[in-house]
Symmetry: C2
Subunit: 347 residues, 2 copies
Amino acid sequence: MNLPSKQAYVPFVSVDNMMKLVLQIGVERVLADLVGEIEDDFRRWPKFDKTPRVASHSDVGVIELMPTSDGETYGFKYVNGHPSNMKKGLQTVTAFGLLADVGTGYPILLTEMTILTALRTAATSAMAAKWLAPKGAKVMALIGNGAQSEFQALAFKAICGIEEIRLYDVDAQATAKCMANLEGRGITLTACKTPQEAIEGAQIITTVTADKQYATILTDNMVGAGVHINAIGGDCPGKTELHRDILLRSSIFVEYPPQTRIEGEIQQMEADHPVTELWQVITGEGQGRKSPTEVTLFDSVGFAIEDFSALRYIHGKLAETGLFEQLDMIADPDDPRDLFGMLLRSA
Amino acid sequence: MNLPSKQAYVPFVSVDNMMKLVLQIGVERVLADLVGEIEDDFRRWPKFDKTPRVASHSDVGVIELMPTSDGETYGFKYVNGHPSNMKKGLQTVTAFGLLADVGTGYPILLTEMTILTALRTAATSAMAAKWLAPKGAKVMALIGNGAQSEFQALAFKAICGIEEIRLYDVDAQATAKCMANLEGRGITLTACKTPQEAIEGAQIITTVTADKQYATILTDNMVGAGVHINAIGGDCPGKTELHRDILLRSSIFVEYPPQTRIEGEIQQMEADHPVTELWQVITGEGQGRKSPTEVTLFDSVGFAIEDFSALRYIHGKLAETGLFEQLDMIADPDDPRDLFGMLLRSA
């Protein structure tokens, strides 16, 4: 057979190589790096080709494609969300992603993104809190202690200086798992029996539960003045975590309004309910927290630009770490018009 | 490190394995098999979740995602179109695709699709001609002799009984390449100096040129009564091959009207110009060719369901051929809530 040309190969980061890469650099360092990359891309937000993700819903879950482009590089993520997977011993969310050169359309990176999505989601949450949470916040409530929880905890420690985390989950085993994984990381951990107990004394409340349904994790009377709420779990139509009354007295910050109005907590509100785009807070075009008593809410659903930033980051680490394989994914005959001849000659 | 579980692996068909698979089964047999698969899926067209492809356009080309689902299996293709690539020695069109289980969202196949797209495009063209071309057609004009041309030629031979092909390309070297590749395949081949010469005596006219611009490959006076036109090259906004007058006197058949009205030859026409959906001809809900003198036109732009059929076909060949690798693409911890623990334990 003919050997494929260099163009035929796409660098591929397997799950194994992603884990090696993250451990080699260090989880908290990766999270901080990602905050830098995401902020860089949020600062040039208007440059991006943006579209709500393309979702294919079924009774049990959703499969989504999340593309974006900055005009030079194109990226997309494939991601599913299947709350029922856990009972089958499978991940609720799995993902992979790709970067391509806009000039040629040729892919330049394929990578696992289950782990990378967990990292970028936590980095985005911590970035938002960096801009919105009350000054000097040291205590966070972490409601929902599943696959995303440790990443959230470490991101808030590394980026926001959180020192104490109060954990709650409907399943005490999830809390125990999360606490065991976070042991020795310099965070004071307290297991709580109710959401009410978890939010006692917390300046930041992170909700990260996975039910695909309207659920009320937080009610209005639970949320005190000055708190920052980081709502991660309301991320598809029909899935929310917060009572409507909380939204009515919060200043709401979102990633991309056309997507958040369909998928986020604000799907409970009127279509013109006021929101501020997070990127505008970062560029100074929008206002962040206005007072120490204001309740701020980051209604996070995840947006393609965050994945793009994460993909750019991994692409930038390839040469330095060597943690990738070359995948024979692109047919690239010597004469580009001779695809059929390449096939014949491979005999 | 922990070994990934079976769920973590996604069967991957490389370019090399795709070529082996096609040669092992035989090109014409694969084309005929694909027509069967595509017809099966066209017969159950209403069952599919359909959306126009999600395109990201730039000055030099386009990158597209083409998703669809039949409720049990989800598929999508990544494909680019960059006419300027050829001058750089690169493919105009490259692609890869994925199938996933709707019930879990876990991928079940990743495959190269540059070669597979060439095959499914030719199979779709021949399938349409099987239903629309005049009875007893033996001669085809093939205008545009690039990467797709040989696949078209063999599909029309295998499925429609074409015995003679009259070739034309602005570049005589492309014609020579195509003829050399088709030698000994039982088709009478004639190189022509003009499009006019190529269509002499042809009952089927296939146009498959690649310029990303409005071009007039065929003018009205060139198209005689009773001809079937298979127009492949007009497949993105601003790119057409046929003069408007031809469209005015043709019965036009399309894949998915919302997409074809943007991308196909009919982007030149009013938004309500009458068209018939090809799947309805196959199910009998729509009428195909009405008379021997009618001009029929398949305004082909390619649709996600054809890729889905092709992906299903390749997925069905995995066990039999063994022509795939296992890709460590999905993070799958023993406890699905313990993604972070999996990362820690990989140290």
